[in-house]
């Protein structure tokens, strides 16, 4: 939460200059890097362009534990000032240990709620809706405070995994910047006055049947809300309900409409697919397809290298590098309007017509040559050979016709019913949202709208620029906005009503497969928020109904069984977190003869594509510090968005990371900093949504650029013919890709290939399963002067499967929430002071134009021969009897020797008081089982020792041993791919012991004789031999 923006420029500028050497990469010579890579023998793994270029500044950053000036103070504080203060604090330091402990109050309940046991958490199953889609969660509540979100293991959409967004929702709940009062033109008003206003307005509308009444919502899957809206529309038949959000699925719906003549939802079954072709379908990212958590689990279930489970193969064709692209066995960067779907469809005998001009892209055009002479035919051949076990998946951002073609392809391949199923749409009222918003604005412009209720969302910020929503909003008569924040939209509306957080209210929503979850509150609304249900009730005959009565009443009316059974059933729904067998019904559909719409080719040249931000999505979580500081999986960018440019285009336009460019598309302009993204399609640039907020709260405002300024309704996902010009000064981005890097060089200057990530092809793995262990020689066990430790009871260990990790960042947020890890702010991130205990390294291999990416989560390795333990002068980090490297915060005096001596760079130091000790609402967020660290203290991963301790106590009370998987670390629990496994190595039958005994197991930097307790399972790729041959 704390961001120390500099007041005095002097020191900061000096620092900025030094940083720019290594950070901006302004002088990078991409041609030289290319040449070097082409000359390299064997695979070369690299993390950033700066590393490849061997910039002098990069070396310096790497060799210092923290970059230069990291130990400087953020504000203009000179060395002299520091010494003066240091002298004074030294004099006081001796006394610090002698402070008498202050008296503390202890405040009991008046009447203790029945089920609360003080000190013990309660868990409640609920759901976190994003774009209407429920993400099933289980929330841990300590004495009524929700503090941690986990996945719901029984729910098919989660299977226990919790994504970064839903886990960060607890921080959003306690966000002190949330709006707290109902306001009318900026002044505080009571709820009753709003109700009276609505009543009066409705009375006026009665005569015309609500002709001037409009509701604008985000995507709605909630059956209750939909029925409430339907009830109001029944009373006011001329009123209209519009839906809009920027990350919508219009193309998916239109595509289904073209193919089947009706809107259906597509569900993929990745566990059944041997060969998968993804056309920008990002099924691993929480900002990607709905159902991503299940998809990640299903996909990686075929990558655990277990006997009897054949490995799948993934082809990805995409514009901007994505998580799915990173996992691909073959990835092809292409502009977003690629014709591969047309090619494959045509080759499989699918034909189509164009609605108007028949001259463009007929099926016969694709029967001869392919634009990609090796890739396309190879993919086609592979798909053909796996009929019924292949899959073509299309991303929401692809044109509707590509969706339609994919439906035809999947049908032609016999995949329908196998790897693809079609179900009733999950949305309550699936509409083309862009068209819906356009209609609304047209009506407003025509003066037809007298009452506009905006329920959630922030259209004034994120509506397409050409619609001019924000400008025309004032023409609507009475405008009321329900939202969590006093944002861009509420500023333009007369009334603003604070919205209740999903953890504060009753509601319901459907998961990606249609399964219904009842959303139950964990806490009473902190800031007097109202739910959408209560808000809608104000338009109904019963304006005072509570959310509970509304939601429960709706479900009671829907209940088919005996009325007296409802209570039991309702309780079961709440307990389970979902309504059993409530998934959308399968729909048998067949593809009609395809009539594709007139192609919208808006000129040639470079194209821009728009993508939701992996962390802040469409900007709704802009004020969430956890998500802002979460390094975006591939670019490792924090606190900003950037214009992603391919190395090729950057070279042509002489651009480098940090250069500010002006982008002009269809007459609209914006300015933003460039980030050179290896693997990006050459003739394309990517803009990220969610930044450039003007009223986004203290963390979210004035960061990055606003991509919605150039996003038009006719080209919501990609637009060709964009102009890019370099302007003005460079911009400093805070990226972590060069932080905590593992050097290939020793102190005496010799170069050693460290092989931090190890991988082989499937053929190589079959030939030699122990390839990873043979890549490096491990020193003998007795090569140490210290006597070996003896572990009588437990010996904890962890295994991380690089083949499963999809790089979704869920573990980072899980760790942050579980362990009270503070947020440090952009300036501090640039100083390499970010505090995440587990980091996600992304290693690239191959040419800049299309490298392969491997993700490697790196927590503390809990070494057996731990270098950190030997150097601590105060014994603040010591070996525990169960093998952990304990970190004793109260002993730490902050010498940072341990961090200096750690080859893995997994220790984090509180340079400043990063934890927020003052904001009252944020105090509620803390996990009471973990110390909130203060300034000057080193911290690191402890394998969630609080969880181990709790499980140990519980098991000892029953006089038994801790069962395998009884303790799950926070990162393990959140992981959708089951890549992280924790357990007791002394138990030979434990999951982790079996994995560590497996052939793919290797220790990171084990050649240093640290004997890491966390080890990795090497990655195995499954390339198509055809493509591999041709290079």
């Amino acid at each position: 939460m704390t961001e120390h923006e500099s007041a005095k420029p002097g020191c900061k500028e000096k620092a900025a200059k030094l940083f720019s050497i290594a950070r901006s990469g302004a002088k990078l010579d991409l041609a030289a890097i290319r040449e070097k890579l082409s000359k390299a023998t064997g695979p070369t793994y690299w993390r950033s362009l700066e590393e490849l270029a061997e910039e002098p500044g990069f070396d310096e950053v790497m060799h210092r534990e923290f970059p230069r000036l990291a130990s400087e103070w953020p504000e203009g504080c000179s060395r002299r000032d520091f010494l003066r203060l240091a002298g004074a604090s030294l004099a006081l330091a001796g006394l610090a240990g002698c402070t008498k402990q202050p008296l503390e109050p202890i405040v009991p309940y008046v009447v203790q709620p029945e089920r609360i046991v003080l000190g013990r958490p309660l868990y409640f199953a609920t759901a976190f809706p994003v774009s209407g889609i429920a993400r099933p969660i289980i929330v841990k509540s300590m004495e009524g405070r929700p503090i941690k979100v986990e996945g719901n293991p029984q729910h098919g959409a989660s299977l226990g995994a919790a994504d970064a967004h839903s886990q960060a929702s607890v921080l959003g709940l306690y966000d002190p910047d949330r709006s707290q009062t109902i306001s009318y033109n900026g002044s505080v008003r009571p709820w009753e006055m709003l109700q009276a206003t609505i009543r009066a307005a409705l009375a006026q509308q009665q005569a015309s049947g609500g002709a001037g009444l409009r509701f604008l919502t985000e995507t709605v899957t909630s059956p209750t809300l939909a029925s409430q809206i339907a009830a109001v529309l029944k009373q006011f038949p001329n009123a209209k309900w519009h839906q809009y959000e920027p990350v919508n699925r219009d193309n998916v719906k239109t595509g289904a409409q073209i193919a089947f003549g009706q809107v259906v939802d597509t569900i993929y079954h990745l566990d059944k697919a041997d060969v998968i072709l993804s056309l920008e379908a990002d099924f691993f990212s929480p900002a990607g397809l709905p159902g991503f958590a299940r998809y990640a689990r299903d996909f990686t279930s075929r990558r655990k290298m277990q006997p009897g489970v054949a490995m799948n193969r993934l082809y990805v064709v995409e514009t901007a590098p994505s998580l799915t692209g990173a996992k691909a066995d073959h990835r092809l960067p292409e502009i977003s309007r690629t014709s591969i779907a047309h090619f494959i469809a045509a080759q499989l005998g699918v034909s189509w017509e164009r609605a108007s001009d028949g001259s463009v892209a007929r099926a016969s055009d694709f029967l001869q040559a392919s634009e990609q002479p090796t890739f396309w035919p190879a993919v086609l051949e592979d798909l053909k050979q796996h009929r019924g076990a292949s899959l073509v998946a299309v991303g929401d951002q692809q044109d509707a016709e590509v969706h339609a073609l994919a439906h035809a392809i999947n049908q032609a391949l016999g995949n329908v019913g196998q790897t693809v199923t079609y179900v009733d749409p999950v949305e309550a009222n699936p509409v083309d949202q862009t068209a819906s918003l356009k209609d609304l604005v047209t009506d407003i412009d025509a003066g037809k709208v007298q009452v506009l209720a905006i329920i959630g969302g922030n259209p004034a910020y994120n509506a397409p620029v050409d619609i001019g929503f924000a400008d025309k909003l004032s023409k609507a008569g009475l405008t009321i906005h329900l939202g969590m924040y006093d944002d861009e939209t509420s500023a333009l509306c007369q009334w603003h009503v604070p919205e209740a957080h999903p953890l504060e209210t009753w509601s319901d929503a459907r998961a990606y497969d249609g399964t219904i979850s009842i959303i139950q509150p964990l806490i009473a609304p902190l800031f007097h928020g109202r739910s959408a249900h209560e808000f809608m009730a104000a338009f109904s005959q019963q304006p005072e109904q509570s959310s509970y009565d509304i939601v429960r009443g709706y479900w009671r009316s829907q209940f088919k069984g005996k009325p007296e059974d409802f209570e039991t059933t309702w309780r079961k729904w709440l307990h389970d977190g979902f309504v059993a067998d409530s998934g959308s019904k399968p729909r048998a559909v067949t593809v009609h003869p395809l009539k594709l719409p007139k192609p919208e080719r808006g000129g040639h040249g470079t194209e821009i594509v728009f993508r939701p931000d992996p962390s802040v999505y469409d900007g709704r979580w802009a004020n969430n510090g956890w998500l802002q500081e979460l390094p975006k999986p591939l670019t490792k960018l924090t606190w900003d968005n950037a214009v992603l440019v391919s190395p090729g285009l950057a070279q042509d336009l002489r651009l480098a990371t940090g250069n500010v460019v002006e982008i002009e598309s269809r007459g609209h302009k914006l300015r933003g900093p460039v980030l050179v993204a290896p693997g990006h399609a050459v003739n394309s640039i990517t803009l990220g949504m969610g930044y450039g907020r003007t009223r986004g709260g203290s963390n979210g405002s004035k960061r990055g650029y606003d991509a919605f300024q150039v996003r038009t309704s006719d080209a919501p996902w990609s637009a060709s013919g964009v102009k890019i010009t370099r302007v003005g000064k460079d911009y400093q981005l805070a990226r972590t890709q060069n932080h905590q890097i593992i050097a290939n060089e020793t102190a005496i200057g010799e170069t050693i290939k460290r092989a931090p990530v190890r991988e082989a092809t499937l053929a190589e793995f079959i030939a030699n399963p122990r390839f990873a262990q043979e890549m490096k020689e491990e020193p003998a066990r007795d090569e140490t002067l210290y006597p070996p430790y003896e572990y009588k009871e437990y010996k904890w260990g962890m295994s991380i499967d690089l083949n499963s990790c999809v790089g979704c960042n869920a573990c980072l947020v899980a760790c942050q929430a579980e362990n009270n890890i503070p947020v440090v702010g952009k300036d501090q991130v640039r100083r390499e002071r970010h505090m995440n205990w587990i980091r996600l390294d992304a290693y690239n291999e191959g040419d800049l134009a299309n490298p392969r990416t491997i993700f490697q989560p790196v927590p503390c390795m809990q070494c057996e021969n731990a270098p950190c333990e030997l150097v601590c002068p105060v014994g603040a980090t010591v070996h525990s009897s169960e093998g952990l490297n304990d970190m004793v915060y109260n002993r730490c005096v902050g010498t940072r020797y341990c961090s200096n001596n750690c080859p893995y760079k997994v220790r984090r130091f509180n340079f400043l008081l990063f934890s927020d000790w003052d904001t009252p609402s944020l105090k509620l967020l803390h996990n009471p089982d973990v110390t909130v660290r203060s300034r000057g203290v080193m911290e690191k991963c402890t394998y969630c020792i609080q969880r181990i301790t709790r499980a140990r106590i519980d098991s000892e009370k029953e006089q038994r041993k801790i069962r395998d998987q009884e303790v799950q670390t926070a990162c393990q629990q959140a992981c959708p791919a089951e890549a992280i496994v924790f357990g007791d190595l002394n138990d030979k039958n434990s999951k982790v012991a079996r994995l560590q005994a497996g052939p793919r197991n290797y220790g990171l930097l084990a050649e240093l004789n640290t004997r890491p307790r966390t080890t990795y399972l090497a990655a195995v790729r499954n390339p198509n031999p055809e493509l591999e041959k041709k290079g």
Partner: protein, 232 residues
């Protein structure tokens, strides 16, 4: 040439040098003593409370079990502090008009919690768990002292780390049969007060202690003194 320093300088310098060493040692001793004293760690200090609640009366005199109020002592790290309702269970019938109990009635009437001052308070970086101590045979009075004889609650032990470690290093010196955990008048076994337990009779604490450590599977001192047992 005459002496620059007088002969007495020798003595003075000796006294100063030795004196300084003794002074340092004395200072160290004084600090250590002060640091262990009740003034510093509040041992033996009764705190001001909204109601002068007497454990001696309720637990000692009336014989109310500890767990009647401290309900979660066996299940949670926190023993639990009784809600106002627990007081009112009896005091809606007894001493209903006692002025001393007005804060309790006020709390119950208004829903405002009573605000007690914590007596046995560990620093925030120490994670103590009641339930495991109870289930391993550590009696309440080992840490809390003779609560049943305290008219006003005070901290009976230093609650400092060396004191915790005393038991974590040699639990056999302190453990008792589980059935006696809540017995505030428990006496360690001696030849006059033998303790019968699991078919054997013990006349001294160490022998019984070792047997209990074995039977309750109390972890080894090495495990119990690992930092993460209490700090995290």
């Amino acid at each position: 040439m005459s002496q620059i320093f007088h002969r007495s300088t020798n003595t003075i310098s000796r006294v100063t040098i030795y004196g300084f060493v003794f002074l340092l040692a004395a200072l160290g001793w004084a600090l250590a003593t002060w640091q262990r004293s009740g003034w510093f760690n509040r041992m033996g200090e009764a705190q001001d409370q909204p109601v002068p609640f007497s454990h001696a009366h309720h637990a000692g005199g009336l014989g109310i079990d500890c767990r009647y109020c401290h309900t979660s002592v066996e299940t949670s790290s926190f023993a639990g502090i009784p809600p106002t309702k627990t007081c009112m269970n009896c005091h809606s019938e007894l001493w209903t008009n006692a002025p001393m109990l007005e804060p309790v009635r006020h709390s119950y009437r208004t829903g405002q919690s009573l605000k007690w001052t914590r007596v046995n308070d560990l620093p925030d970086f120490v994670y103590f768990s009641h339930d495991i101590h109870i289930s391993k045979g550590v009696g309440c009075d080992e840490c809390h002292g003779p609560v049943d004889r305290m008219p006003l609650m005070f901290q009976a032990k230093s609650l400092q780390m060396e004191w915790c470690l005393d038991c974590h290093r040699e639990p056999e010196k302190y453990v008792r049969p589980k059935g006696e955990v809540f017995n505030m008048r428990w006496q360690r076994p001696d030849s006059d007060h033998p303790v019968k337990f699991a078919g054997a009779t013990y006349t001294d604490q160490p022998t019984m202690g070792y047997a209990l450590v074995k039977q309750y599977e109390i972890r080894s001192p090495r495990d119990l003194t690992s930092c993460n047992t209490c700090h995290r």
